[in-house]
Symmetry: C2
């Protein structure tokens, strides 16, 4: 009988940090015979003991020790978790003593809110960035465009909108986007409102085959989605990027995160951490 495991992600807040950590660790294995179970907001003894019971039950069923990753801060809750039948990895145990020692600072053992609201100023800037991305999506608005930190340009469905929203949501970047169309290609130059903003422009390209596949999903059989049309547009867009000196990236095999990080790095937009 093949072994089976349960991996618990236990947090007193959202659990987003260990979600990322465990996802990263699991990329190092081909297939993992394991189910992941996230238990956020475990911030009192009752909730914690319920999770301990789940861990112990899984240990029984799986006939193998569950892996448990924890970002709980409270010392009593952490001690309870360690008394479970899981193999517990506590990110504070692992990293905090050395960090504390190196920085010569005492940690405060108080629930962290790494993904909490912070202060209202910070929250408001974030929501403002999301609203900016929505207002300046798909060339919907040009007035005020000069306030953008960066402006993505590319053909329809090359990935501009999700990338802008991600940049806004995660990094509070004021990101606008502008779709290149036949008109722009015929002119052979950037639309007038974009020209003075060239240092903040960044191009998205994509393979014509992938673009064709994406457009087919939306408008099957249309000339808009045809491979010939996709080829024409991508070729023209890349030619325009080169002629006007706009840096660009091929989005075909990049995730939204990878696009966002690469673009910030190349345009020189701050990545607030």
């Amino acid at each position: 009988m093949p072994e089976y495991h349960t991996i618990f992600l236990v947090s007193d807040r959202t659990g987003i940090t260990i979600e990322g950590l465990v996802r990263t660790l699991l990329t190092q294995f081909d297939t993992v015979p394991a189910e992941r179970v996230v238990r956020p907001f475990c911030d009192d003894a009752d909730k914690l003991e319920q999770v301990v019971a789940e861990i112990n039950a899984a240990a029984e069923t799986d006939m193998a020790p569950p892996l448990v990753y924890s970002s709980i801060v409270d010392p009593d809750l952490r001690a309870r978790l360690k008394r479970s039948r899981g193999r517990v990895f506590d990110i504070f145990d692992v990293f905090l003593p050395a960090m504390s020692e190196t920085l010569h600072l005492h940690s405060r053992e108080r629930v962290g809110h790494a993904h909490g609201i912070g202060d209202y100023v910070d929250y408001d800037r974030r929501v403002e960035a999301v609203n900016f991305a929505l207002s300046f999506d798909d060339g919907a608005r040009l007035k005020g465009l000069e306030e953008a930190d960066l402006i993505l340009v590319g053909v329809s469905r090359s990935g501009k909108t999700p990338t802008c929203l991600y940049l806004a949501m995660q990094y509070k970047v004021l990101a606008a986007n502008y779709p290149l169309t036949e008109d722009d290609f015929m002119q052979g130059r950037l639309p007038a409102p974009l020209r003075p903003l060239r240092p903040r422009l960044f191009g998205l390209s994509i393979s014509p085959e992938r673009l064709h596949q994406i457009r087919e999903e939306r408008r099957p059989g249309s000339s808009y989605a045809s491979l010939a049309q996709c080829r024409r547009e991508v070729t023209a867009a890349e030619a325009l990027f080169r002629a006007t000196g706009i840096p660009f990236v091929d989005s075909t095999n990049l995730s939204i995160e990878e696009l966002a990080i690469e673009i910030m790095q190349r345009v020189g937009v701050d990545r607030p951490v």
Copy 2:
């Protein structure tokens, strides 16, 4: 002279995982006299040695060892990083051996792409969720609403739009939102298109003072933004939630992440990990 430190976050991909980890660790200190420096896409010896040089320079300037958090996979690059003058914490060193041993699996030491594109199916579902959130934002569309995994309802500026976009972007949830207005309050019941979907409805409330502050930013001095109006709307919205049995949460002190996680948990929407 107070001590100063530099904290390096070094990754062969986006660095998002260690960004979250370090953010979480730093919540445990009051003020950290340190600058964070993110170095993504360090995937060859040249780029890595450049970062090593930066680390060594910081060690000199700071007169204290830089902290270095790494999610690099390649063994050679990791070895080079450890020869720097930083104090290096390598998340794979720390967690992978025990995970590998417990799961009885060999790790493949290949660049991880935890935040990479995965497969196109996965990417497409994500973009589809973002497009869904955009189409069904602010009650813009009702036809097709029954496809939503969840529908947020609440007064204007209670946080519905960013929460829906976050749910879509991070968890591929099909999230719509619908703004409650005077009309709905006068009727004293849910708008007709929402009624059959009640199990998927979730309410957002907010303190009238905070709502007033947010609305003032957008429309200073308007009656829409007045505290009296905010009080009236919030009271009416909560009364409607209670009368119709819609669960709700007060968004005043919650981040977008916390709202998203709490709502998924309470509505029972899957949190894919």
